[in-house]
Symmetry: C2
Subunit: 237 residues, 2 copies
């Protein structure tokens, strides 16, 4: 595509930039060892993640007032610990484990690709994760963001149009000057409705080897790239 | 001081991190050359900057609705052009010149000091400048921010307490875990009232050689440093 009018790339993060499943599973194993707990930590990670959308939808529907993702993760953790029959942990121990979401590793191409893209574009996360979560993760995983955008600044979770529009407004740009990058087609289709450009970067291993998503990209996407280095190649960055 | 509890440093920017006067003067000279205009561009820079506070106070008092700094700079530019009897410029030319504030150079120690401080602390601007302005300036001047905070995210200009409190909240920290760094004592005293730590870094040349501020630091400041490299030394970073 002709990307000469694009000034900023904004990224979905969980799954697109970082491998949450492997990272949460590993931290679960460490947490289990430190606290003398046994569990299927891969299943634990999947369960924790699965509660993200229903909790978020309670905020989107107005059933819950604005609540940031750290706090939603903390509520969901309580549910998952119950499911796995893990009881008696201190509040401090649970609060610290909840920060596992701040310590997720990038896919191998994420940081190298972002460093190349950064030479030409403004780069920002456009995640449902809150500012502190994204800031800490950026430092942990070496992600060279130029600024942190996302749902918390709009007080609207994706895919509400306000979430994308607020990012565009804070950048001082027009929607067509901003490209959304995501591994999730619904996220891109929602961003397109606000006028953003779209780049699809499938991450087939996000949910593990037995749960691969349909890889067929919607024909409306401006770019389809196999990873962030390929994205930099295609955007001549 | 014992800085072991400090997690984030947030910075005043205009004057503290960047040398706005030299940068605006230089861009004024270039603007004059490109448009066949003669003026005392140092006086022009001083006049433009002098209108910043009265316009901001109109927002703080409620006389103007929330208006970001790019828009206030644009209103002030109109006034300054009138004062200097510069007429007939196109809207596009004026809008482009207004972005001069996005292209300010750091003091010589700013980027090297920030890179050292970044190893240990979260670094963010806490400026009255808007997110786009700070993001573009960060890229232009090579300032390695971890996230962009500031008045626009609170919709309250400094020194309103909401401006500092919003930064602390978005970082997910307590006020005593955040240190405000500024060349302006009033900014630090206002941040202290919200519970933040304070580091004074005087910039005697901010307003030029003939307009040096009183260098005596208020005894309440936690740190007084001669520049950002000295600040990194004192914070053992």
């Amino acid at each position: 595509m002709d990307s000469s009018g694009v000034k900023a790339l904004i990224f979905d993060v969980f799954g697109t930039v970082v491998d949450w499943r492997t990272s949460i599973t590993r931290q679960g194993q460490e947490f289990g060892k430190a606290n003398g707990l046994k569990a299927d930590w891969e299943a634990f990670a999947d369960s924790w993640r699965s509660k993200y959308r229903p909790y978020m939808d309670k905020v989107r529907s107005g059933e819950l007032p604005w609540t940031n993702l750290d706090a939603l993760h903390r509520m969901a953790l309580e549910d998952v610990l119950g499911e796995f029959e893990i009881h008696g942990l201190s509040e401090e121990t649970k609060a610290e484990f909840n920060l596992a979401w701040h310590r997720l590793d990038g896919w191998p191409d994420s940081a190298p690709g972002l460093w190349r893209l950064k030479r030409r574009f403004i780069l920002a996360p456009m995640s449902n994760g809150n500012v502190a979560l994204m800031t800490n993760m950026g430092k942990y995983a070496g992600l060279p963001w130029d600024c942190i955008l996302g749902a918390e600044l709009a007080r609207h979770y994706k895919p509400d149009p306000e979430s994308y529009q607020t990012a565009v407004d804070l950048l001082g740009l027009k929607p067509h000057q901003v490209m959304m990058v995501a591994a999730h087609q619904g996220d891109l289709l929602s961003a397109q409705k606000v006028g953003l450009k779209s780049a699809f970067v499938p991450r087939p291993m996000e949910r593990g080897p037995n749960n691969k998503p349909d890889p067929t990209p919607d024909p409306s996407f401006d770019v389809v790239a196999s990873n962030f280095v390929d994205l930099a190649d295609q955007l001549e960055s």
